[in-house]
Every structure is written in C-alpha cells, then in structure tokens.
Symmetry: C2
Subunit: 347 residues, 2 copies
C-alpha cells in the first residue's frame, strides 16, 4: 500500500510500504477515505533530523472498516468511522473522565507512537478499535466529509481549548492564531456563547473565515502593539480567557499580556518551549490560570457531530485545498509556506 513517510526536515515522500494488517484481537483495519495534513505535522517537517526518521505521518482520518480483530464489537466491516488523533480504550479511569489522551491501556497514546501506521496512507491498523473509533451515520462520499474529518483533531482541539478555558456566555475571549485550530477555537467559543471573541491573526483570508465562525474583532498586530489593541477593545483589562493555538513563546507571552486578572490561558498549540514565565511578574500576581494540553477529542465527537450533520456549523471550511496522496508533499510545503490553510487528502 502507499503511505506518507517523513525522512527529514523538508523531505516527505509517498512510498510503497507493507500493507497494514490486524495484529491484535482489539485492532481494526481501516481503508482510508479521507485524511489531512495537520499544523502539528509541520513541526517535524520543519525540523526533524534524519536520525529520527523515517516516520509515518498522519493522525486525522476517516475510513471504511475492512477487517476487525476477534474481540472488536462496536464497529464492523463496512462501517464508515472517524479516528481521533489519540488512541484510547474508552474504559480506563481517565477515559471515563473524558481525558482519553491519558488512557492507561493504550500502548501508545498518539499515532507517532505507532511507527508503522499513519493516517496519510491508503490504510491504517487501529489499536483499541472499540475505544478509539466512532461510527459515522453517512456515506463515504457525503458532502459533510470535510467537516466530519475535523472531529478527528482540529475541531475537537479548538473545542478543548474553549472548554478547558471555561468559556461561557459571560466570557470575553481572545484566540491567538489563525490556523485551523485557532479558527475552530473561534467557532467553539461562539458555540459556548462567548460575548466577545477577538481573533489575533494577520492572514486576511483566514481572519475572514474567523469572522464567519464568530469572531467579533480581529487584531492583526502582534507583541506589545497587539496586546495594547486587545486591551483597548476590552476596556483596558484584557479578556477573561485566551485560547492559545500556536505554541510558540511569543504566543505565550502575548497570552500573558492580554488575559484579564483572574483569567485563564488555555493552550492547545504544542509548546515549542519547556520553561516559561509563571512567577510573580507573569501568572502569579494577577491570579492567572493556565490550562489545556493535547485534546481528548474522542470525548467531544458525539457532542459536536449533530451540529455538523444538521448543517448548523461547517468546520470543514478550514480545508482550502484537496489533493490525492501524490499531492501530499506539495501540500506540506504549501502549508509550511502558509499558501494553504489545511490540505484535505483523498487517498
């Protein structure tokens, strides 16, 4: 079968690899019908050393179940399913609490811990299929496919940011980042009723989509000037919640600058730093709170799916390019160059 393999920074290839097959009774084999490239794929694409590769890519996909292990009961051959980016059994104490990203029974919580599998491919072996997969009540050629695919990561991640940030109808929110996750954090904040949603981003086509998703204000300035503009938009004190969907240190510092005393910074951008200011001069003095992490998107799929099925929301608008597997390497480069927002793949 064909799959996407990253060899080193800038070197991603479509290659013939051994067919994925069932290995454990809890596995399912899924023929991929829709997949995509994630903003987080761009971190290794930008910096991975050849010594850390080659590695299979892709952790967001929809597909048709082709085979199941002997103990799998919730999905069967022919079912159309969506796979969250985290593998989980659905029964451990953390899964029961909705923190599937900390499932204690998954051999690897994330796809990068399954070195011979990846979603940007023709097929994938799914560990812990009963806990991980969710059946979709539509056909594989449904026009809803882009929106349903966002349930595998970006929509659930944006929603996790908003939920972990405690967004509600009394909340003013700033979203840092106009990538797919940031835009879907806007949609999520809107869904939770936020009274003001300020989107910080400088790419007009993206911030326009952000306005469509519910942003009430757009601030294109960054750093001190961006902070000043957000403060001006909020009567001087900043917003109750900041959803940080980038992951860089400047984005974190910006978040600290625009969050209101007593407020909360909710991070879902993968941090590109380990140490950061959290002492008297940053978080402590104004009683700022910090939340977030890898989103347990599995916890949100059933909650978010109905509004996609009934057409109330259309998170799939974050996809601006569609390609087949052969177009994946160019898709990586276009996303890295910010020419594409998010690339939809039909293998």
């Amino acid at each position: 079968m064909r799959a996407t393999v990253l060899h080193a920074a800038g070197d991603v290839r479509i290659e013939d690899v051994p067919d994925s097959v069932i290995k454990k009774p809890t596995d399912a084999l899924v023929r991929v019908t829709a997949s995509c490239i994630c903003g987080s794929d761009l971190w290794p694409y930008g910096s991975m050393s050849p010594a850390d590769g080659p590695t299979r890519m892709g952790h967001e996909f929809i597909g048709i179940v082709e085979d199941t292990g002997s103990s799998v009961t919730t999905v069967k051959k022919g079912d159309l399913v969506v796979a969250p980016f985290a593998i989980s059994d659905g029964t451990c104490e953390f899964c029961r609490e909705g923190l599937h990203t900390s499932c204690v029974h998954a051999q690897a919580n994330f796809w990068d811990g399954e070195p011979d599998e990846g979603g940007q491919a023709e097929a994938v072996r799914i560990p812990l299929a009963d806990g991980t997969l969710v059946k979709l009540p539509v056909a594989a050629d449904s026009a809803l496919m882009p929106s349903l695919l966002t349930l595998s990561d970006v929509f659930g991640t944006g929603y996790h940011a908003a939920v972990a940030g405690g967004v509600n109808e009394r909340t003013r929110v700033t979203v840092i980042g106009d990538g797919a996750v940031g835009l879907l954090a806007v949609l999520s904040a809107k869904r939770l009723g936020a009274e003001q949603i300020i989107l910080m981003g400088r790419h007009k086509a993206r911030t326009d989509l952000g306005r469509e998703f519910g942003a009430t204000d757009v601030v294109s300035a960054r750093g001190e000037e961006g902070i000043a503009q957000v403060r001006e938009l909020t009567g001087g004190h900043g917003t109750h919640v900041v959803l940080e969907a980038v992951g860089t240190m400047p984005a974190y510092e910006q978040a600290v600058g625009i969050v209101r005393p007593g407020g909360i910074i909710s991070r879902v951008g993968v941090p590109q730093y380990e140490e950061a200011p959290i002492g008297m001069e940053s978080l402590f003095r104004p009683n700022l709170r910090l939340a977030g992490g890898p989103a347990p998107v599995r916890a949100y799929i059933e909650e978010l799916m109905p509004d996609i099925l009934n057409g109330t929301i259309e998170p799939g608008k974050v996809f601006d390019v569609t390609t087949d597997l052969d177009g994946v390497p160019a898709g990586y480069q276009d996303m890295a160059d910010r020419k594409s927002l998010k690339v939809f793949i039909k293998p």
Copy 2:
C-alpha cells in the same frame, strides 16, 4: 508610636516612628490589638539588601478603630476590626468578583506599597477603610483572637489555595508545606470535603497539627522519594489537586510530580522563581492546570468567620508563640530557624 522596621536581611528593629494619622477621607486609624509575623515576611528578612530598606513590616492585624476619615461609613470609632493583607475598595469590578487583590482603586494593593504603615506596630492608617476592614462581633480580649487573626492572611490564603484548586468531596489533595498556610490549606481542604488529604512536611509538631486539621496521610520525604510515596498512596497516579504553599522551585517540581493527569496545581506560596517548566514534559502533555496567586482574603472573611465564632474550627492553633513588640526581632529569627511556627504579637 512604636513599629517594626526591617533595615536589611537579619536586621529587624522596633523603633519609634511618627504616629500614623488619617490622611484621606477614606482612611481609618486603627490601634493594633493583635498582629503576627508571616512566613512571607521571612523572604525579605532572609535576603533584603540595605538599599531596599528601611521598610515597615506586618500585614496581618486586628485592632480598634480610633478615628475615621469623613467619608468612612462601615466602621466607626470603637469597632474591633480585622484587616486583610490586601487593600481594596470593595466596589470595583474585580472586588465585586471576589478578586480584591486586583482592586483597581487601591493606590497600593499590598501593605508593602504603603511604606509608612505596617501591622507589626501600635497603630496603622488603613486606606479605603470601607472596603478593606471587616468588623468583628467580639471583644478585643476574646479567646478567639488568634483564630480571628488568621482571617487577615494565612487562613484565607490556605482557603484560596483550596478554592482555586477546585477542591470538593470527590477530590484527593496533596498539600506541600507544613507552614501555617500549608496547615490551613489542609483545614480548608477538609472543610471543602476532600476525601484524601496528604500533607508533605517533615516537622513532626506541625504535621501532627496537620493531622488534627484533617490530613489523612503525612509524607516527610521530598523530591523523587516524596513523589513516589504520594503516588503509592494514590494508586499510582497522584492526587487531583496539589496545594503548593512553599513557593520554591523544588516545591513546584514536586507538585508537577504528584499531580494526577488532568489535575490542578494551586499555588499560594510566593514564587521564588519566575521561569519554570510548563511545556510538553511537565504541564502540557498530561493536561495539568495551574492556578492560584495572592489570596483575595477579603472575599472569604464573612464565609469563614462563623465557623470560628461557633468553635467548629480553630485555625489559631498555628500560633505557637506569643510576644509583645519587643519580642518581634527574636520572633523573626525563631521563625526563620523553624523554632516557631507562627508568632502572635500583642503590641
């Protein structure tokens, strides 16, 4: 009048200073009847350079109103009052939300911003008296005085840790630190119904008081060994909430080590660091949350006072030494040497 003045690390003196007087219509003048030394006073006592002094000390006190400015309405001459360690007007948007430490109308939020005033003295001028002071319904010689005095800081601070940490009856809690704040964080967690309260401390007299306040387990080991012991006591995953009442980097690292995935670290120990690990290897991967800051103790006084008045709780047990003003310098040294837990002052 006489007051406590810190000149430099290790050099604290009782001196004659100009009498405190009313300066603004919103001021009150209070004759101090009970005061104390705070663990946070030990930071400047341990490290202040002579260039940063001399400075008046003390931010926890009870006293009798001797005079009031023309606009003060909530307290009058002769009232016994308790002063929180933060000055607040009680009417701004943050005060109304219970975040009095971020009051926008206080010229200085904390007493160290009022260079000519301090609670370890015979008298104090209280700015924004209507918002700051709370009347006590007892006489100045009441046996409840030590417990009521804890409302000015340490009890409210321990309680803030527990509230900000979201402690409830389904929560397992670890408290790091066996100082007065740590012990009152134990009492607060107990009050909020925590099902397990692990106190980390190595001073037996203090951890014994912690058990009396509600600790179900005591761990005297620190660092990796302490982390391992807490994990063993909690089925391997640590506690939902960690109340960090020390403020050092080792205490923070210990908190990260013992908090359960998805859990929360609530800090009330004044951080002796600015940068700390919060990235993928520490807070982010397990979706850990961070909360806390200087406690808005004013917000908690009315809530906590009834249980003191009716004898249900006795937070004043944290005082193990009583002295007059002349004994204050020795009190500082004894607390720094950990010979005294907390020194009660009768000026």
